[in-house]
Symmetry: C2
Amino acid sequence: MSAGHPHRYSQDIINAGLTSIEETDMPQYKAPLRDMQFVLHELLNANEHYAKLPAFQENVSRELVDQYLEAAADFCENELSPLNQVGDREGCTWNDGVVTTPTGFKEAYQKYIELGFPSLSAEEQYGGQGLPNSLGIAISEMVGSSNWAWGMYPGLSHGAVRTLEHHGSEQQKDTYLPNLVSGVWTGTMCLTESHAGSDLGIIRSKAEPNEDGSYAISGEKIFISAGEHDMADNIIHIVLARLPGAPKGTKGISLFIVPKFLVNEDGSLGERNHVRCGSIEHKMGIHGNATCVINFDRAKGYLIGPENRGLNCMFTFMNTARIGTAVQGLAASESSFQGALTYAKDRLAMRSLSGPKAPEKDADPIIVHPAVRNMLLTQKAFAEGGRALVYLLAQYADVVEHGITEEERKFADNILSLLTPIAKAFLTETGSESAKHGVQVFGGHGFISEHGMEQIVRDTRIACLYEGTTEIQALDLLGRKVLQTQGAMLRDFTKIIHKFVEANKDNAAMKEFIEPLASLNKEWGDVTMQIGMRAMQNPDEVGAAAVDYLYFSGYVTLAYLWARMAEVAQQKLAAGTTDADFYNAKVTTARFYFKKILPRVRSHVDVLSTGVESLMALDAEHFAF
Amino acid sequence: MSAGHPHRYSQDIINAGLTSIEETDMPQYKAPLRDMQFVLHELLNANEHYAKLPAFQENVSRELVDQYLEAAADFCENELSPLNQVGDREGCTWNDGVVTTPTGFKEAYQKYIELGFPSLSAEEQYGGQGLPNSLGIAISEMVGSSNWAWGMYPGLSHGAVRTLEHHGSEQQKDTYLPNLVSGVWTGTMCLTESHAGSDLGIIRSKAEPNEDGSYAISGEKIFISAGEHDMADNIIHIVLARLPGAPKGTKGISLFIVPKFLVNEDGSLGERNHVRCGSIEHKMGIHGNATCVINFDRAKGYLIGPENRGLNCMFTFMNTARIGTAVQGLAASESSFQGALTYAKDRLAMRSLSGPKAPEKDADPIIVHPAVRNMLLTQKAFAEGGRALVYLLAQYADVVEHGITEEERKFADNILSLLTPIAKAFLTETGSESAKHGVQVFGGHGFISEHGMEQIVRDTRIACLYEGTTEIQALDLLGRKVLQTQGAMLRDFTKIIHKFVEANKDNAAMKEFIEPLASLNKEWGDVTMQIGMRAMQNPDEVGAAAVDYLYFSGYVTLAYLWARMAEVAQQKLAAGTTDADFYNAKVTTARFYFKKILPRVRSHVDVLSTGVESLMALDAEHFAF
């Protein structure tokens, strides 16, 4: 702990970087390569997966995957992790529309470009490496776990690239993609306005046609992550706005490209567009990322996709963004677990109730205490289970994009559509819970900034809000994905679980996992039916049930993945392995998940069964007196 | 939202106070006087309670209670609430051992003294007003809800006063109490050292006898709230340290008075003692309160109480401090509820699933959505239920101190001992949950500092850590209070619930509350028995069960209080009242609690029943690879 400074770091310390903080206090990220490889190669058979996709069957091997993972691990551990607290302390600074990022952020971004990470999964035609998104997501986990605020600068670009790839004209792609793909430019998504967040149908930004075919965009957008900064030569904003006379609501919104600097025909940067960062927000966390108010004052913009279909074009991007946000939850579980585990093995307090475990010391390390172990194992179960879920989704996303048959693409799209809101909401909420445990394991020291645990709580809270709050994800899951398809999407997934259950029904070693999983898989359908019946009487039953339904779905989905991980680990152990400790830990963690986490479904089912009535009875004016 | 400033407020804005923030953005606390009066007068019959205690039967009337509440409400709403964000933004500043509190804090403290609040519950002999602590706690709820960081300055003094009242010599009381009671001086509690928090048995600070009967105190204490500041003329530290040759562990710790300025025989301030604030912490929240490292360098100190019995003397204070911390949880629920409710009635987004509720507007106010109502009602249920629990405990504390018979004092002490860890841990955890809902109701805006919701999350997180973490409270409850008394303390309380259940068993209107309460009251005993049996085989079963047991106990305790509140409200409604909306809201909220919150006990019971095994199976070295 540095002595003699006010609780807000003085400018001197900021300028001095980290020198005033003892190095031992600083949390250091270590990429969990062994576990990532377990999930990719052993659980999800990445080799087989890529072999089935023509886009990757030639150029993606296990060796290539591991090389990329190791290169990214090195970059994240040595470049990004040391900047994580710097970013939090310094934050970004705004001066008359110009935003300066924290010390070291710009240099790290240059290295990231030199290492070729921005272009990883982009199309080769525009300078991309044409590698799978499912590899990109594993790398983004490491980037995000080591420094989420930094990772959002390239992360937002990714969304702009995907939107252009899918909906841009050839000329638009040629103009903007090469520099976005290489990372020389970055991109943003400009959706939210101060009165319109979850409900984009009521946005007010306007797009008026110019004589040259472009549009004059006017309006104020807020919460624009990486909306302005000093890391790239140009920033390409993707903006939602209304054309004159457009229909009210979501069917009257169009999508526009609005570059910070206009681009000349020869590709060089032209004049400054009328886009200005009006301010950056004071916020709870992710201080290293500039969250901007962006003012468009008849800025020149170019329509992407058809008129009034802007929200539909955005959906392409939104699924990707939601999986990206699920990664933030996983990252919070992983990084808080790493910090708490190190501390719990080191910190001494009290004796084990079952007798001293370190009699030579003044007290036992706190990892001997069951309550501490409970918190650590909870973090571990959410981190490793969350990793399995995110990587699984990324494989489905590969198939949606590159699958050979329409049938397999459609099936993958259904599963992806169903699991995306679950992954986004459930992993960010459990990530927040893990972050809380991280603070709690540290006791009072968890509240102190230098230890880094409280930063994770602050940084990760936004994950439950942006890209659709937990409540919005829950409605998307229960309303749009489950009930509107008459349960068809859900059945696609419960059948997968059922097949797994059937395949293991005679496996005595798996009984402790298969029995509860089979029962919950059936209950998932029953609970859905029950809500569906009630919703026919009163549509508000959907809103009343959605959040508990989402948690139920999340716990069951993770139970399925933990059971699969236990199965793989048991097979390895049965076959004989030099890595028995690793596989035994997997089985033990699966058991912990089933005994100590999974019972939470009971309360959610009980709450669900009580319906909407007690929620709606109170008049809005009678909540307080 | 103020435009054009970096996310860290610049010094200009700090100096300009609040002028750069639009007033509508600022959360304004409004004391919930109607509900406080309901709990004090209608639920807990404060008049009858005071009439039974000789210390208060003459001088405490309903009118006097209400006058104090209204005066405190006025002070908290108009003086403290406007300083809450100032304190968070500015924090305290340290300069060569001198700590400056945020703008306005000192002036507000002067007003607080002038209004006579510090002396409220102190003994009249030392200038106190001799009023009940149960009145003081209602006032501290308002202070804490409007500005927790500020409230800790007088709050910590209270602990020092209580310790001196109970354990000081006559001379010590005469020397220190009058100025502490009036508020001219403040006090601290110096327990924690950097290696010793939950486990005070391993502290290292030393006390060496001087020839004049005083002691030379040496050591470093950390996390000393209000340890140094500019609000009072002197600071009286109450310090734990070891005498030479003292036994190891908790039985070798003594308690000392160490004033910042020594006090001359005539009561005037003498020379500066060798006590120095080495630094203040950079921390997650409560920025307005200085959390100090305090260095004692052969500082002059005076023994309080017997040698080596310091921890026992501290226990007096600890119960009070734990109830005080429970108030912080209640305060978080109340203040986040107030912020979220205002926003939910105002913010428009989407249409109700059951059809537009405000067709004249662009969208419906979000309070129409069941998920938003669920969060608001959860906050409300925890705030109002928490208030009932805290005020009930304060009445028991009155009886412990002022009850006529040994029997009633002993009985009250048992109930208080049982319920204190429940109130401390359960109300701070539910307070944290409420604060989280506050952010969530605001959507993305919840993450933005100006709205004040994220500050509540940050400020209240410490409540689950200090004065014994949630895990420590859980062990105190299950180990010390329940199992070590062979269930006797628990039976005292479940009998009270049983009597209430019996009294209402023929009351049809209460059936929905009485039936589940009766069943859970019985289950409380069954679950305890089950754990007790397992603990005989393996003492670690206690640690494995404790936290879930605490949550179970908390939910049942609040169910009992919500049932009692529903009963009172139903009686008022049956008798005819002009305040029907208030009482109907009470019954509706009770119903919400039983339908939507109470089912959480099921998961805790299920988790409890799986025992310790899955927690202990993993070797400490195999948590990560």
